[in-house]
Amino acid sequence: MVNLKLFGEVNVKVNNIDLTTQLPRKGFGLLIYMATQPTKVFYREQLANLLRHDYTKKSALNNLRFNLWQIRKIIGELMNEELIINNSKQAIKINSEAITSDYAQFYSASYSQQYHESVRCYSGDFLEDFYIIDAPDFSDWVFRERENAQRKYFSAQFAYAQDLMNSHRIEEAFNALTKLSDIDPLNEMVYLRLMQYQYASDNKVAAISTYRNLKIILRNELNISPSNEIESLYKRIVEDTNSKNSEVILHKSKGDQFFSQKIKIYISKSSEKLSTYARMLASFNNTGTQLVIDLCDTPGQRIPSEGMFEILNSLYHSGKYCISQWKSKCEKIDSDIRNKIIKDDMIFFSMFETLIVSEKSECLIIRIWNFQYLDSKTIEFLSYLSRRKLDKQIVILAVYDSSQRNLQVEKFIEFYQGINDVEVIEE
């Protein structure tokens, strides 16, 4: 039995013996072309033209004969049955009983709506690294097939993700969608579904975080805004959220100091001053010894706990975090936030653990660009951090536009002002 793998890295095996490197490229291409249409009868002349566009008819047919001989010799020797059957003097066909492929399984599963099976078969683009120079007809065919398969895969993966959601297998649904964004990071439908699933599983903060990330990506890469559908969903989520931030609960550590934290808060109503302060924040960068996390870098009030997601996003995009570690931490925090029974201290502890584990750097800098927009839950988390002893220093730099009063922020400032290592500069 010949086993063809046509998605992702291409190979051909006969009885588990890998013959990929033994087949010449054009011969392999010929085999693939025929194997993907196992019931079709091919005229020799058509096959000859497929791979040798500019050859004379005689020369192309001679070369075809040679390719067929190679296939029969290299593969046929390992088989008990004929792989390529002469249908007539002018036509041949492949022995469909003697060949299997992920391609066939993929399409069979797609047509019968076995989405799980279908996505399992798709391990990469059709003939991902396989290319034949000087065979434009073959290339045309490959590109058409590649597109068709990719579109089918996307449909199947969306359908599979929906099935998973319907079965409350939420994390798996997210994973399924993430696979699509790996192929097409600018596909809005993927983000729309992610937001819908996050919202449906009561994780409004994650949905809003997804929206914000998408907005940045689309503007930077494609110069467009999110679609009307995504904008409407975002607005619905924000309206649906109890966006009134709660009263902050602040605690001081024992003694009149922070263990490992310095706080500097710049306050002004003047655009010029605020701009100067923003430039000061901008001068801090990620280095080997310091990691920078950004909160509220764009205007707009944050919903409860949104700042926590911004911290997690910053850690992820710093690139210093092992992805699997980050993912599992993030999922835990995500789920804790949604689970309203979990106490804040436990969530804060998870966040705190994430910060410690994430980084070997000596210093963590948290830049709060628009302090007036920070949500109260994250303000409480910053207060929580101040009571923890860490093996690294945390510096919080915040710019507060006092023309847009935030009472929770002012409570924070008033509470900590006067403590060592807290500096409030107001101009």
Binding site: D125, E128, Y131, I133, D134, P136, S139, D140, V142, F143, R144, R146, E147, Q150, R151, F154, I183, D184, L186, N187, I216, R219, N220, E221, L222, N223, I224, S225, E231, S271, E272, L274, S275, A278, R279, L281, A282, S283, N285, D294, D297, T298, P299, W369
Partner: protein, 511 residues
């Protein structure tokens, strides 16, 4: 110290102001006057006898894509292609096919080809079977790829923008999202050394054309986020002043570099050539197409407000009237809330404004960055403006006269590498505008490339005109542009270019 005497020194400080001598010390102008050789008999300093030549302030090119211009030097240039056959021959003859990670083709226009269409993938494959080839159209919104590149680059098919023929095969032409992604993949493959390979040649050309300050518009979706970083990292070693507009909505990047400005080619709409500049009436050659707006009204206002609050000068691309309208409204909304009388926010291109747009721009104190050379290259019958807009609308493009009459400051730009870096050609194009009602005077056109250029980036106290205390950036022309036949302005020879008082170029010998 050096004295320049016996010349015509047009200061651009005031209309008609003219001296015959100028004194320069180190990087500054010390004095302007009417000193003659006799008076300098006992002076032990360098004396340059201009012999009647004319001095102007060094030129500003107020909007160009510098990295893209550098890349021209390592790209296949299709400027002279008149047919598909020519395109193939140029590719075939290009000696550097395998020297770079991808062969880049530029400046291909279907308007210049007798077939009036772009080559197909199959036609490209005939001369580029075994290396990746990517060709961008003149204004980057359309990309052509050969099969080798299409196979290697793996642009997701789910995206919009793969053109197909009648047999549903890919023609190799990518537009919209697909084009953006393709260009990104090209840029990803290039290393910094590839980008900078063309720098010397580019600056040589610019200096020979009298440019002493460039405003490089870098980054954005048609380019790459590395481009502004490369310029900023290297600007100190470049021979002339390079100011950067970082085309990003992530203001942290701008603040990180302590830049005073943002934008440049933040596209509110597209271009006429690609039929995505935003119009009120459909394109002449595609009946239902009004172009596109890439920002919602609210999104645009939010961005402008955020940048304005951070005291950044903002520049946004708006070509068609619908885009200009939206942009002016956004500026007005923000400026009404947060007044800043000296904001100097800019609109780039402003190519087809209505009269009310001109009035509003004046009212809001907007500065314009415009590209007169488009009128020189795109205006002939059957060419781009005519084909896309129709004769009547095409006559209304770039109305410099009305804009100057309204008292708006206009900075002159090349938009290289779409157009050549050649301010004299820009001056020529503005003065000889095909629509006589849109023509401006030679003096006004020179202002575009000197004092207005400086004003447009808050440098008018330092440069842009000739005055004691200002930087000694100036050029020497063989002929006086105020005296020659205006139709010969583009033929004026630049004799020398001085930057910070040092001669970078002179016709007798290059320094």
């Amino acid at each position: 110290m050096a004295y320049f005497i016996n010349g015509t020194i047009l200061t651009l400080e005031n209309p008609g102001e003219c001296f015959t001598s100028m004194q320069v010390s180190e990087d500054r102008i010390v004095a302007l006057g009417y000193t003659n050789a006799q008076e300098l008999k006992n002076v032990d300093e360098e004396i340059i006898d201009l012999k009647g030549k004319t001095i102007l302030p060094g030129f500003y090119d107020s909007h160009l894509h510098l990295i893209s211009t550098f890349l021209n030097e390592i790209s296949i240039n299709f400027d002279h292609a008149k047919s598909i056959g020519d395109v193939q021959e140029i590719i075939d003859q290009w000696p550097y096919k395998y020297d770079y990670p991808v062969a880049i083709g530029k400046r291909l226009s279907e308007f210049n080809l007798k077939e009036r269409r772009l080559p197909t993938r199959v036609e490209l494959d005939r001369v580029s079977a075994d290396f990746p080839l990517v060709i961008s159209s003149i204004e980057f919104h359309t990309v052509l790829m050969n099969s080798y590149a299409l196979n290697q680059f793996r642009i997701p098919f789910i995206n919009h923008g793969f053109e197909k023929d009648g047999n549903k095969n890919f023609t190799g032409k990518l537009i919209n999202q697909a084009a953006f992604i393709a260009l990104k993949k090209v840029y990803d493959r290039l290393e910094d050394k590839h980008y900078l390979e063309g720098a010397d040649k580019t600056f040589e050309t610019a200096i020979k054309n009298g440019v002493t300050t460039m405003v490089a518009v870098e980054g954005g979706p048609l380019f790459h986020t590395r481009h502004p970083e490369i310029i900023l990292q290297n600007k100190k070693i470049f021979p002339i002043d390079i100011e950067v507009f970082y085309s990003t909505t992530d203001l942290k990047k701008v603040l990180k570099h302590d830049l005073p400005r943002v934008g440049g080619d933040l596209f509110l709409d597209g271009s006429f050539r690609s039929r995505n500049a935003a119009l009120y009436e459909p394109y002449n050659d595609t009946k239902d197409n009004l172009g596109k707006l890439f920002y919602t009204e609210q999104g645009l206002i939010e961005f402008i407000e955020h940048a304005h609050d951070l005291n950044l000068q903002i520049a946004i691309h708006a070509v068609g009237p619908r885009a200009i309208d939206r942009l002016l409204f956004a500026f007005e909304t923000v400026l009404q809330k947060k007044i800043n009388p000296n904001h100097r926010h800019r609109i780039e291109h402003f190519e087809l404004p209505l009269t009310e747009h001109i009035q509003k721009a004046k009212e809001l104190g907007i500065t314009l960055a415009m590209h007169p050379t488009y009128e020189y290259f795109f205006r002939e019958k059957g060419m781009m403006y005519d084909t896309r807009l129709g004769e009547e609308r095409a006559a209304m493009t770039n109305p410099f006269r009305q804009i100057f009459d309204a008292g708006i400051r206009v900075a002159g730009c090349s938009d290289s590498d779409i157009m050549p870096i050649n301010p004299m050609l820009g001056i020529h194009s503005a003065v000889n505008h095909p629509n006589p009602k849109s023509r401006i005077t030679v003096y006004e056109a020179i202002q575009m490339y000197t004092l207005n250029g400086a004003y447009a980036i808050f440098q008018d106290e330092e440069k842009g005109s000739l005055k004691a205390g200002k930087k000694a950036d100036f050029i020497i022309l063989e002929q006086n542009p105020l005296e020659v036949d205006p139709t010969t302005l583009k033929d004026i020879t630049i004799h020398s270019t001085y930057k910070n008082g040092k001669c970078l170029f002179t016709l007798q010998h290059n320094r």
